[in-house]
Amino acid sequence: VQDNPAEGQAADEAMLVERAITHDADAFGKLYDIHVDRVYRHIYYRVGNEADAEDLTQQAFLKAWQAIDRYKRVASPFVAWLMTISHNLVVDFYRTRKDQAYLEADILADDGALNPERAAEAALEQQRLRRAILQLRGDEQQVVILRFMEGFEFAEIASVLKKKEGNVRVILHRALVRLRGIVDKEVEQR
């Protein structure tokens, strides 16, 4: 019996991963249930529309199943590994589509659902910010999304991007400088 629920969940997940590695489809299904929201959200942030996010989410899990033999638990958490697969799929997605005009209106999620004026204002700011984030380059965008929107630690991001932690911090700094520039420019134009 686990005293700490978070530890208990981690232990359960570790057990599911062990079973999935032995090609236990039920265990993999449970891992899907645990992580599908997060994988979907991550992909959605980057492609900006529901249809592509759904398609890529399905593909991400299928690829994970196909490569499950190669997953090493000690090297990175399972969710980080899923994010690596998702990241590669998004990169391929844009490589084949060529056009970069991926920011659809629906990325500007319905933050205004809270309704009061201040909430609406804050939601608008978040929308502007997310739009600016989508103007960042590949790795910079990925680091900002993982750190601030997905709540990943630097070590986890390093494992997703297969870079050193120090490099992730360098990318983050560069990304924030560029983002500041984009946001300030937009404010000037308003």
Binding site: E54, H173, L176
Partner: protein, 116 residues
């Protein structure tokens, strides 16, 4: 990585983990406050959109689809003949490939030349 980059990352970590406030962080780094503050404020403004999640319909559809894909692949791995559409395919293939490939190859992801 420069000292400034390390400080920026440290401040972000501390504020996000409630170990420090933004003001405390800046006060401890007066020499770089001018450079640090706009980046730190921006970083701490960025939040996810918790309401973005897949529709319940998609969750179920995708899970069923995934189960089917897995089942097909596993069946093919255990019993490669499952890939043949009919007896003619099977007969044609048996003339070209060995009928019972080494199961160790399947475990390594090999699906046979007939299962493309």
């Amino acid at each position: 990585m420069t000292r400034f980059e390390r400080m920026l990352a440290q401040c972000i970590d501390d504020v996000k983990a409630d170990r420090s406030s933004l003001e405390d962080c800046l006060a401890r780094r007066l020499s770089v406050r001018g450079r640090l503050e706009p980046l730190l404020r921006l970083a701490l403004e960025i939040r996810g959109a918790p309401d973005i999640r897949p529709s319940p319909g998609f969750r179920v559809r995708a899970r069923v689809w995934l189960a089917e894909q897995i089942h097909e692949r596993e069946a093919a791995a255990r019993w490669p003949w499952a890939c043949y559409r009919d007896q003619t395919d099977l007969e044609a293939a048996t003339q070209e490939v060995q009928p019972f490939p080494d199961p160790r190859l399947h475990r390594r992801g090999y699906r046979g030349v007939w299962c493309r």
